[in-house]
Symmetry: C2
Amino acid sequence: MTRVAVLGAGSWGTVLAAVLGDSGCRVALWARSPEAAARLQVERRDARAAPALVLPASVSPTAEVDVALDAAEIVLFVVPTGAMREVAGRAGPSISAGAMVVSCAKGFEPDSRLRMTEVLAAAAPALEGRITALSGPNLAGEIAEGHPAAAVVAGSNPEATLAVQAALSSTRLRLYTNGDVVGVEYGGALKNCIAIAAGVADGLAMGVNGRSALVARGLAEIARLGVAAGAQALTFSGLAGLGDLIATCTSPRSRNYQVGVNLAAGRSLPEIARLLGHVAEGVNTTAVARSLAADYHVRTPVIDGVYEVLYRQRPVQEVLHELMAGPPGDEFADLLGSGR
Amino acid sequence: MTRVAVLGAGSWGTVLAAVLGDSGCRVALWARSPEAAARLQVERRDARAAPALVLPASVSPTAEVDVALDAAEIVLFVVPTGAMREVAGRAGPSISAGAMVVSCAKGFEPDSRLRMTEVLAAAAPALEGRITALSGPNLAGEIAEGHPAAAVVAGSNPEATLAVQAALSSTRLRLYTNGDVVGVEYGGALKNCIAIAAGVADGLAMGVNGRSALVARGLAEIARLGVAAGAQALTFSGLAGLGDLIATCTSPRSRNYQVGVNLAAGRSLPEIARLLGHVAEGVNTTAVARSLAADYHVRTPVIDGVYEVLYRQRPVQEVLHELMAGPPGDEFADLLGSGR
């Protein structure tokens, strides 16, 4: 019976804890607030995040990080990207020497622009060599309802990825391994920017043809930027690239897609944050992606367009029109070095 | 005023004729039956194929191939794959010496397994060097309604692709060029097999996560098979690969997707053909793809699964279960030569 600690009791953390608990793991689920932990202990569910889901008896909610980590063989960090460093710093010293660590957050640290596994390594250097990332088309609500899903465990150390795969795989969550952690993390993070664009396109009733063209051009941008950062191009054709992108861009359940739909309706970012009750990861990721693209000299017109709408209040119609205008040339000229 | 002949007055041919007529071309639209041509001449629309669309005055329907081809500078073949050879043989001798030719059909010739541009070249050898293929996320109904779309003009001769791009591009149809005609034709054809699988997944309410994983694995198969046939891997990340795949797998308007939905409901292929009023291209393409995969020694589990359901009447649940079972390994092991 593998002992797993899930740090973070948002919707994804709660669903992961339940799925792992159902598949034979003994799971400690850490919630930041004692009230949230107590509620989960009593109610055994999170009505807001995943109404369909009941925590099995094998899942123990707690607000004490040390209790959650006690004897844990696998530690999942399922916190927002902005909280990763702090939680890793708090948890790091209590993680057992042989335990493997998994980042389940998709995005970059705002100022440092580090990937989440890099933040984990920086905040808890003792974890070096034991850090992996979990990513894929994993809408939490669907997994809560019992639909099977697949994902990728990525890391540079095969011993770590294989251990995590072996411990967490089940019929409800098929886990593949991938050695390209840069690609898996870039795919998971950047797809949120394209999901905002897809939401805008659908909000403006642009049609499936137009949205599909936008998403395809968006994946090319993700791949370009990822490869510039050291990723393997192939990864972007996989579950954590294309797979996650399609899921996020076609499901109304995606938070980032919802941001786009609301932008298309003319709402401002603060209004949207109030309306949805959260700031979707893609909003911060778009700013980081734009800055990375500038440093790597990579053209990212879709991401730039999303940035213009989010941070410079440019009207969505204008930006979309600009994206669709201009003479189209050779489809891959910009990838093949001719500059357009 | 470019003179264009559109051979084939199905929904895609009719919509293309209208879009080109609206954007300043003078278009002859050839319908096989004199009755259909006469009806289009009088009614100026095809109520069944594209109710939203009215043919502009610049479009002249005719049932005479020679009339349609008279002085045409661009000739579009918009016929089912099974009719391409016959129509090309009939039209070939009447095509002007300098005219460029465009295949708008997506699939293979059943017995020869030739791509459509290969069929054109075989049936009308004088066209050599002037043959291109048009492909992309182009649901005809959406374009008829005025939504803008993008596509790729592919051919090995840049003179031909640039001429077609220049003649046919408009704000409603953005045309990129691509020199990889094998990749563009494989992408357009094979995506129909994956669309059948996506329809099955949705018909069985498998969820967006599962469908997205299936589509991502499907694109990997398409790319693998295409590359084995001489295509560039990059093409499958573009409009004619990923773009068309997403559109076809996520829109209920896609005929091939509808075949999948009906298979999931337990209907047989003949029943589905009766119900939908046509045999979708993906049905034949799946048989050809499976045979090509065997010859090229390429693993195509999703396409094989669709084949089993279509041609061996295996229950969809059983095949889908098999696809989701088995130990997942390294995500790209099968692409990287280790054999699984």
